[in-house]
């Protein structure tokens, strides 16, 4: 048996000035060639563990460090991050801060030059890593012109250029659209399988990467709460940490079906075993669903996600909360970002705006809020549009919460008890709530529309659920809500309608339950498990549907409608 590439023994670590340890008595070993997933809520030690493995803790961050971390036999207390970096490549959350050179070629070359490679080795290493990661076409591009997905790929390439045996990744997909995120995970899987690179990956959206993991380590309050195979992790999460469950696992667990599925394929196999899906994937008549998707009237579980205003209400004289009429945004001597967008949002409607990075979502929201003026077209607003931009930290100008927002707004956001704290010390979810309190904090009328641009970046599932509940509540109180998001699960949880943008155009517009059910990328995991025909359901709704179908299958034959005789059918 080979020695572990990463060994951590009794590691306890406090950040400088912190009373509570960020990591407490952590012991684990990672063997060469493993793809290991780090799971846990925000602030429970995932990033700190990765930084300890890279040697940044304690060398870069300082603080109190007890225990022992060895990377390929090197003790991190004796070797700094520079030396350890040759053995462990690191990719952090924000790709922008990981690119330090002006061009992609220079970026990749720097990673090798700092390790003392010869010029021939640098030239060869740059070409090879670029080809391996499919970024050879980007080599001459300036780094500031790359998209988020491209930046993350280049950062990964820079980390891999020296062929380190271990790769440490801290939420590398958090800023990527579903397509780019899946591509990156596929790439990691290939690196693991073809290059035998050991990978430690911290992620919130486990459904995306659980299927390729050999092992999952769950951290809770800085301690290792669980360490085992993905299926064992899901069983543990169902009992101990429901917020860490994947939507598919949660749906099957709520429906009383076992084993917990690691991915869509296993979930569908479980459903087939129970007779809830056809054995042949090409069978058109899925016993789970009727030929057409169930309507909210047929299935009460859909009512929450299909509450789009009726045509009749549209014909009434109630003015829309927001209306875009043929809105264009054309850059001076550049491309068009929006191309004749038509969009009408009713009061009380909640709309998810989806699409790839660069599709025009943020630009559309900026137009809605009046931060940009259309080059053509018109925008009508029923009142103020409150816009929450991507980075909540951009709203914080003061060193105390009570200087940022009124006491009433802080109380509404559940932050009254933290009024004297510095906004920059808040967790991701709390920062988002404070920013929301700031943009909606008004003594006069509430905004007609609340628009949020990627509000769930880096958020854990619990914080997302709280935000979704908050947004649903606002919609119920008559406020229109527009959320630009890459997260289909979040979109399904908070929106009744979804709009898909591509290349500045609206390419699909419909009920979220329908639109988030049929796609490959812009679809919830439950929809992909159920084949999409039942619509995009939350895990709870999916479980109810499965329970109903299971009950129907168990019911005695006379209780179910008898198949119609051919004669009767012919009539």
């Amino acid at each position: 048996m080979s020695a572990p590439i990463l060994s951590i023994k009794n590691l306890t670590y406090h950040y400088p000035g912190a009373q509570r340890p960020a990591l407490e008595d952590v012991t684990l070993a990672i063997d060469p060639g493993e793809l290991c997933l780090l799971a846990g809520m925000s602030g429970h030690g995932k990033s700190t563990l990765l930084r300890a493995a890279a040697g940044l803790v304690p060398h870069f961050h300082g603080g109190r460090f007890a225990g022992r971390v060895t990377l390929a036999g090197l003790d991190t207390r004796e070797h700094g991050p520079g030396r350890l970096g040759a053995l462990a490549g690191s990719v952090f959350q924000d790709p922008e801060t990981q690119l330090v050179m002006g061009s992609v070629r220079a970026e990749l070359a720097l990673a090798l030059e700092t390790r003392g490679h010869s010029s021939a080795a640098v030239a060869r290493g740059v070409e090879e890593v670029a080809l391996a990661l499919g970024i050879d076409h980007l080599l001459e591009r300036p780094t500031h012109q790359l998209s988020g997905g491209e930046q993350q790929r280049v950062a990964l390439a820079a980390a891999l250029a020296g062929r380190p045996p271990l790769l440490l990744l801290d939420e590398p997909t958090s800023q990527l659209d579903p397509v780019a995120g899946d591509e990156l995970i596929g790439l990691l899987r290939r690196l693991n399988q073809e290059w035998d690179t050991t990978i430690v990956l911290a992620e919130h959206r486990l459904e995306r990467c659980l299927v390729c993991a050999d092992r999952v380590i769950a951290l809770c309050d800085g301690r290792v709460a669980h360490d085992g195979e993905p299926r064992a992790f899901l069983e543990w999460a169902a009992a101990e940490a429901p917020a860490l469950q994947t939507p598919g696992a949660k749906m099957l667990a709520l429906a009383g079906l076992r084993p917990a599925p690691v991915g869509v394929k296993q979930a569908r196999a479980t459903l087939r075993r129970h007779g809830l899906l056809p054995a042949d994937p090409h069978t058109p008549a899925d016993p789970l669903t009727p030929a057409d998707p169930p309507t909210p009237a047929q299935d009460p579980s859909l009512q929450a996600t299909a509450a789009r205003p009726s045509r009749r209400s549209r014909r009434t004289k109630v003015p829309p909360a927001l209306r875009l009429r043929g809105v264009w945004h054309e850059l001076h001597r550049g491309p068009a970002i929006l191309r004749g967008v038509e969009l009408r949002v009713e009061p009380g409607e909640s709309l998810a705006l989806m699409g790839r990075n660069g599709a025009g979502k943020s630009t559309l929201l900026r137009h809605a809020a009046g931060l940009l003026e259309p080059t053509r077209g018109r925008i009508e607003r029923a009142g103020r549009i409150a816009l929450l931009l991507q980075n909540p930290g951009d709203y914080f100008l003061h060193d105390r919460l009570d200087r940022e927002a009124s006491p009433r707004a802080l109380a509404d956001a559940g932050l009254a008890a933290m009024a004297e704290r510095n906004p920059r010390d808040l967790s991701g979810g709390e920062r988002q709530r404070l920013a929301l309190a700031i943009v909606t904090d008004t003594q006069q009328e509430q905004p007609a529309v609340l628009a949020l641009d990627e509000p769930t970046r880096g958020m854990d599932r619990l914080a997302k659920a709280q935000l979704a509940a908050e947004l649903r509540g606002r919609a119920e109180r008559g406020q229109a809500v527009i959320v630009a998001t890459h997260d289909p699960e979040f979109a399904c949880a908070c929106a009744t309608r979804a709009v898909l943008l591509a290349d500045g155009r609206v390419i699909a517009d419909g009920p979220a339950s329908e639109l988030l059910a049929g796609g490959w990328y812009f679809a919830t995991e439950t929809a992909r498990i159920l084949g999409g025909a039942a619509g995009a359901l939350t895990p709870g709704q999916g479980a109810e549907l499965l329970a109903d179908r299971a009950a129907a299958l168990r019911a005695p034959p006379e209780a179910t409608p008898a198949p119609r005789a051919p004669v009767e059918a012919a009539r």
């Binding site: 990981q98 720097l110 920059r424």
Partner: protein, 292 residues
């Protein structure tokens, strides 16, 4: 912002060291020559070079900026210089500044200096647009790794910081009642920009740490075959320098402003100007081997 942008042009295809030498040769020519016609020829040649490098539009913008800088130079020189003999306006006794006599010589000399500054601004713009700073700093890294990398980082971070400031300003505009006004509010925004840039600096520092920046050795010399463009621009640089020295030493482009203007126009000067334009523009005619 005048940032390097890869283009399919002979100058972009030239190795950074040679391209920088070529720009330095043109700078030397601008400093050696004083005759307005020679300087005008340099302006024309650089604008043609900018067109050949695919950055003509940006150079035209730089020319406008240069005009804004040049005008005060002419005005200040004509007001301050007391050396000319041909008075075209008398402002009378200016107390401690003496007699306010404005002379044609001071006006022309101011224009010549402004022309020199224009050439230098255009050259700086062309160099920053067409010479890869990474490749240039890579040469410097062989001399001082950390200083050169710090310069690289500064170049890279400029657009990012500008974007940060824009984002922050947008966030403030979305507050109810719009962005807070007043000096205190502006100071708070500035403080937030600084805090944000420090956060970013911490992340960048962590990235550099794990990439082995702390123990980085001297950058290795890159072995790259000499391309036709490398040779053409090297020859152009040598020719420009030779012509400038010839113009200066042989008196072909002789020019004196004080006490009386002396700027002879001869066949030699005209030939020198034509030659300057030709040797500067010629390397841009060969577009073989230029990546598209």
């Amino acid at each position: 912002m005048l940032l390097y942008r890869p283009q399919a042009s002979p100058l972009h295809a030239t190795r950074a060291g040679v391209a920088a030498l070529w720009a330095l040769a043109l700078t030397a020519a601008a400093l050696l020559l004083y005759h307005p016609l020679a300087l005008g020829a340099l302006v024309l040649a650089i604008l043609l070079a900018g067109r050949g490098a695919g950055v003509g539009r940006e150079l035209t913008r730089a020319l406008r900026t240069a005009a804004i800088v040049a005008l005060p130079i002419v005005l200040v020189n004509v007001l301050v210089a007391r050396e000319g003999l041909t008075v075209f306006a008398r402002l009378g006794d200016l107390g401690p500044f003496g007699q306010g006599d404005l002379t044609v010589e001071a006006l022309v000399y101011g224009a010549v200096i402004a022309l020199k500054v224009t050439v230098l601004i255009l050259l700086a713009a062309l160099a920053s647009l067409a010479i890869d700073p990474d490749a240039l700093l890579r040469i410097c890294r062989r001399l001082s790794f950390r200083s050169a990398l710090t310069a690289s980082l500064a170049v890279r971070m400029l657009p990012l910081l500008a974007a940060d400031a824009q984002r922050l300003a947008d966030a403030q505009r979305t507050r109810p009642g719009g962005a807070p006004g007043g000096a205190r509010a502006r100071a708070a925004v500035l403080g937030a920009v600084v805090a944000g840039s420090l956060d970013r600096a911490m992340d960048v520092a962590a990235t550099l740490e794990v990439r082995g920046f702390a123990g980085a050795p001297r950058a290795p010399r890159l072995h790259r075959p000499w391309s036709r463009h490398d040779l053409a621009f090297l020859a152009s640089a040598a020719a420009v320098l030779a012509l400038a020295l010839l113009g200066r030493l042989a008196g072909l482009a002789s020019f004196t402003a004080y006490p009386l203007l002396h700027a002879p126009l001869g066949a030699g000067l005209l030939a020198l100007c034509a030659a300057l334009v030709l040797v500067i523009a010629l390397p841009f005619c060969d577009r073989r081997g230029v990546e598209t």
